[in-house]
């Protein structure tokens, strides 16, 4: 069965192979640390294990090498479980699509994953930000034309 917190596979306690299985897991964890691996999957006759390192993405640094601009879509910024919608980028927050227009969402509105909740302008490009969660807006935490950073909470949400 899988440990909920770490995703590590635990052998059933009390079985004869438990010791050997734990040995294997320890060895795999050591290998992962040694080689900077994030995920490892191993299948043996009596044991199938998948280990994934938790937390932020681990990437080897290459500070001396120049890299071209990465126009990739912004990754999802991790919200505290269901509590806030956070900014996935650096830019300027706008609550509505135009200065006189109505806000995309207001307190009490229900949102789903696809609901556009605001716009963040970065380098003259207006990015529609989606809720990416299902719930009810409890509070709007920032004002229109306010500068926001990556990870900054924008809306407090009560999840469904």
């Amino acid at each position: 069965m899988a440990d909920e917190k770490t995703g590590k596979e635990r052998p059933v306690a009390g079985t004869p192979s438990e010791g050997a299985a734990l040995d294997t897991i320890h060895k795999l964890v050591d290998l992962m640390e040694k080689h900077g691996l994030v995920e490892v999957e191993v299948e043996q006759a009596d044991l199938a294990v998948r280990l994934r390192k938790g937390g932020a993405e681990v990437t080897a640094a290459a500070p001396a090498s120049p890299a071209p601009a990465a126009p990739a879509a912004p990754p999802k910024a991790e919200s505290a479980p269901g509590a806030t919608i956070n900014s996935p980028m650096v830019g300027t927050f706008y609550a509505s699509s135009s200065p006189e227009g109505e806000a995309f969402v207001k307190v009490g509105d229900h949102v789903t994953e696809e609901t556009v909740v605001c716009i963040i302008e970065a380098m003259k490009v207006f990015n529609e930000i989606r809720a990416e969660m299902s719930g009810t807006i409890e509070k709007v935490l920032v004002k229109s034309a306010q500068a926001v950073e990556f990870g900054q909470p924008l809306f407090a949400v009560r999840p469904d």
């Binding site: 650096v90 970065a122 380098m123």
Partner: protein
């Protein structure tokens, strides 16, 4: 002069630039990834903006995010530090097109000196020796073989887009040369998105001596003397010093003048370093030009008394270099040891982890540039540098004595560092006699030969 500068970097160099801004009365805006949220220098900046998760591609290497931060923070200039985007011509271009000055050379100069093949052509026009080798990128393995026979083994296969010691392989014979070309191409394509390689004679028992230059926008270039960086491991510098213990005064002047000619030929402005290999006969050959402030700049600051980062900011803001060459002194002797979080007893494996004890040396003649503190965690996302320990004394002997004392004072626990290696180097007879070359560390410590 600029009102606000965004520091597009992290760690000790971010702190260095913020310090310069504060002394000049310029607002400093720091950017940080989520992994650097607790960095000590953020509080020193006037504003700090989180730009992304830990991964460099989504933070310190991400042009869009950095420019966004520069715009919301309303800065007039960006200082790129070293590494990351410091020598990325596209980044410089984008920044300037958004009316944000990039503190560094023009895009044209950066491209010219950044390309190894173009740099060699510039060197020839500046009447500087280049290491015998291919004039243009290798077209075929046959060409490589023919050339190797002409210039003689051993040879070095180098990536045209490489630098900082990466993308290089030695070959001692035909078989290893063919392999080196094939693998070198594949690696260069993967690492730099540019598979061009070229061939150079391997200069044996060479010393690595580089010259610091600064140029302004009006064509003036001044040098700030040389740094000897011969102590390297796998082409990564460990120790740097100025003056070089191996050069006669005449060679030193010729070398430094050559660097100025090179910078002028390239139309270079800002701070830069021209690197040379010097053989036993004191003949020097161009290695490469680094279009950025370098890690080891404090060595030069010590012996010349200038603040190089402040000069970078001034020339970028359009000021004239008011220094005359004869006004640049070289006083005393300075040595820098790079302290990295690496286990030097175990293949220099990087050691991530929390720093629980951190005691930094001080006293006369000692400077420490570090962003680390007790409670800071070295993460695996970025380089393993903890800090730089620089000493400056009237003579080389006195500098070595101070360095040994300072290394004894420096406590970093529990992670492993290169402090023990530096202690050994500072006690080694070859080093004390000034008798080392770029392969010396690997030979003496047998920590692994250069790739080939």
């Amino acid at each position: 002069m600029f009102q606000r500068i965004l520091v597009a970097n992290r760690g000790e160099i971010a702190l260095r630039v913020i310090r310069a801004c504060k002394e000049m009365g310029i607002g400093a805006v720091a950017v940080f990834s989520e992994a650097d949220r607790d960095a000590s220098y953020l509080a020193l900046a006037d504003e700090a903006i989180c730009i992304g998760p830990a991964a460099p591609a989504q933070s310190y290497l991400n042009i869009a995010r950095i420019i966004s931060a520069a715009e919301v923070a309303d800065v007039d200039a960006i200082h790129p530090g070293y590494g990351f985007l410091a020598e990325n011509a596209h980044f410089a271009e984008v920044s300037r097109s958004c009316n944000i000055e990039f503190i560094g050379p023009s895009v044209e100069a950066m491209r010219q000196v950044g390309d190894k093949v173009q740099a060699r052509n510039l060197a020839k026009r500046a009447k500087i020796y280049v290491i015998p080798g291919s004039q243009t990128p290798l077209e075929s393995e046959d060409e490589a073989l023919a050339l190797a026979h002409e210039i003689g083994y051993p040879v070095m296969v180098k990536a045209a887009a490489g630098g900082g010691g990466r993308g290089m392989r030695i070959a001692h014979n035909d078989i290893s040369l063919v392999q080196a070309v094939r693998q070198g191409r594949a690696e260069a394509e993967a690492a730099f998105k540019d598979g061009r390689v070229y061939l150079e004679k391997c200069v044996e028992a060479a010393r690595h001596v580089e010259v610091q230059i600064v140029g302004d926008h009006y064509g003036n270039v001044v040098h700030f003397w040389e740094r000897d960086c011969s102590l390297q491991r796998r082409h990564q510098k460990l120790v740097e010093e100025s003056p070089s213990p191996a050069l006669s005064r005449k060679t030193r002047e010729k070398l430094c003048d050559a660097a100025v000619r090179m910078a002028k030929e390239a139309g270079y402005s800002g701070a830069g370093t021209v690197e040379f290999l010097v053989d036993r006969k004191e003949t020097f050959y161009l290695l490469e030009v680094n279009a950025r402030i370098q890690v080891e700049h404090p060595v030069t600051e010590a012996v010349t008394g200038v603040d190089l980062v402040q000069w970078q900011i001034r020339v970028a803001a359009g000021e004239h270099l008011r220094l005359r060459q004869r006004d640049v002194p070289q006083i005393g002797h300075a040595i820098e040891c790079r302290i990295n979080a690496e286990d030097c007893a175990n293949g220099f494996r990087p050691c991530a982890g929390p720093i629980r004890k951190f005691r930094v040396p001080g006293g006369p003649g000692v400077r420490v540039d570090t962003h680390c503190f007790e409670g800071w965690t070295i993460t695996p996302h970025y380089d393993s540098m903890i800090g730089k320990l620089i000493v400056h004394r009237p003579t080389r002997e006195a500098a070595v004595a101070t360095m040994r004392r300072a290394l004894d004072e420096f406590v970093v626990e529990p992670i492993r560092t290169t402090i023990p290696l530096h202690r050994e180097i500072m006690a080694n007879p070859d080093f004390l006699r000034g008798n080392v070359d770029t392969r010396w560390v690997e030979r003496v410590w047998q920590v692994g030969a250069a790739r080939g």
